[in-house]
């Protein structure tokens, strides 16, 4: 296939997945410039559907890279095509995001606040509970939970709530949110990874607070760790080249001081601890081997960085 259609498919995938929301500024800028060029040279030969999907993508990219005038132009094209008074929630969502971005927060709020029956807009309304420049997201979380009471099948909102809980260290609640997603679709391996990761954070949190070396406390911690490991393992069972999850497993097997404590317990004759440690040995070798196969050192370092954060 020609270069044009390869590039087109790339942009369409970028737009439909929304992956650009997590891009670094540099990546955003380069994608914006590339798409601007692409639209200039190939805009005429695209189908309507492709063209307006790309306009929507370019709207976001322009807004994120502070090309406000261009973003407005894209928005106007979309409005011209689909009608200013149309009941399209998608369009209103874009308009509201634009208004919010250029600082007209009240107008943006008014736009999404019109009818509670418009679910996509109601969902956007929830984000107005977010406070700028602070880590206090209690209000935001309570509006999210309120929305989820009304819409318990909305996976994206569950994911958002999970991430918010994870941010403030309520890992148990975050795990609950992610598991809600898995209840609806049991093949979402990135979410299995997230569950494993949050169990791991939970373990770190509990371990820090650990004062005693009592047996039952240690076993409790071990359980958290086993949960974390099992979720990682499920992720690599579904997709066996999932580097992040392999790194997660490797980290769990390399917990020096905690494993020493477990070893003492194991020597004391507790069977499940012994089994865990034996299993650990095997996993440590296996995950190490898989990471060597899959990841470049930079990629590995980046994943480690993400986990430690």
């Amino acid at each position: 296939m020609s270069d044009t259609s390869i590039a087109l498919n790339n942009f369409l995938l970028l737009g439909s997945s929304g992956a650009f929301a997590n891009f670094e500024p540099e990546q955003l800028l380069s994608n914006h410039d590339k798409l601007e060029q692409f639209l200039l040279s190939n805009g005429d030969s695209l189908s309507t559907l492709e063209l307006y999907s790309l306009y929507e993508l370019q709207f976001y990219l322009a807004l994120l890279t502070k090309h406000d005038i261009e973003a407005k132009a894209m928005l106007d094209r979309l409005v011209d095509q689909f009608g200013a008074n149309a009941k399209s929630q998608r369009l209103k969502l874009l308009q509201s995001i634009y208004l919010e971005a250029i600082g007209k927060r009240d107008e943006a709020l008014a736009l999404v606040n019109k009818s509670p029956n418009e679910l996509k807009l109601a969902r956007r309304l929830v984000t107005f509970g977010r406070k700028a420049d602070s880590n206090d997201n209690e209000d935001y979380i309570s509006t999210l939970t309120y929305y989820l009471d009304l819409q318990p099948t909305d996976l994206v909102t569950w994911s958002e709530l999970g991430h918010e809980y994870s941010k403030i260290g309520h890992y148990d609640k975050a795990i609950y949110c992610f598991k809600e997603i898995l209840l609806q679709d049991a093949l979402i391996y990135p979410i299995f990874y997230k569950v494993g990761l949050n169990y791991y954070y939970n373990f770190l949190q509990e371990e820090k607070n650990l004062k005693t070396e009592r047996k039952d406390k240690l076993l409790e911690l071990l359980n958290i760790l086993i949960n974390s490991r099992n979720n990682y393992l499920r992720a690599v069972e579904i997709f066996d080249d999932y580097t992040k999850a392999w790194v997660g497993i490797y980290i769990i097997t390399q917990l020096g001081s905690f494993n020493d404590k477990l070893k003492k317990l194991g020597d004391g004759g507790i069977k499940e601890v012994k089994e865990y440690l034996e299993y650990n040995e095997k996993l440590s070798k296996l995950s190490d081997k898989r990471i060597q196969e899959l990841a470049q050192p930079e990629e590995y370092a980046k994943i480690l960085n993400d986990i430690k954060k």
Binding site: A21, V156, H163
Partner: protein, 131 residues
């Protein structure tokens, strides 16, 4: 958008078929005039068969997987030339290598995007870049 190699193959194949078809037409007309019935000449037969094979090969050529572009701009070839593996662990490899996944919307959470915060971050990046 079809590949040019496919189009060339189709064109050559169709040319062969049209030519052999016209030959066959002339042959039948001739035998009607002379009232001699004989078998179709072997060269028409061969030309038709070659034309069929060429077009079928073109059809195979048209179902090849195209290469894809990753989000950081590298062009990669899919693992298999024609088809896609049906096992999940094999088939999601490609989209993961592009830099996303089928469940990216749960990761990106675009409807919840903190547009003001992201723009601020971009501003900071531009500033740090100018220095």
């Amino acid at each position: 958008m079809a590949k040019s190699s496919t189009l060339v193959t189709y064109f050559v194949g169709l040319l062969l078929l049209v030519h052999s078809g016209y030959s066959s037409y002339e042959f039948h007309k001739l035998s009607a005039i002379t009232h001699q019935s004989s078998h179709l000449p072997i060269d028409i037969l061969v030309e038709t068969l070659v034309g069929i094979i060429v077009i079928v090969i073109g059809g195979f050529n048209s179902i090849e997987n195209s290469s894809v572009l990753t989000f950081d701009g590298r062009e990669i070839q899919p693992d298999y030339k024609y088809l896609k593996p049906i096992e999940m662990k094999d088939s999601v490899k490609l989209i993961e290598r592009i830099g996303t996944s089928d469940y990216e919307e749960l990761e990106s959470r675009l409807p919840f995007i903190d547009i003001v915060g992201k723009r601020k971050k971009y501003d900071e990046w531009v500033k740090s870049h100018q220095d």
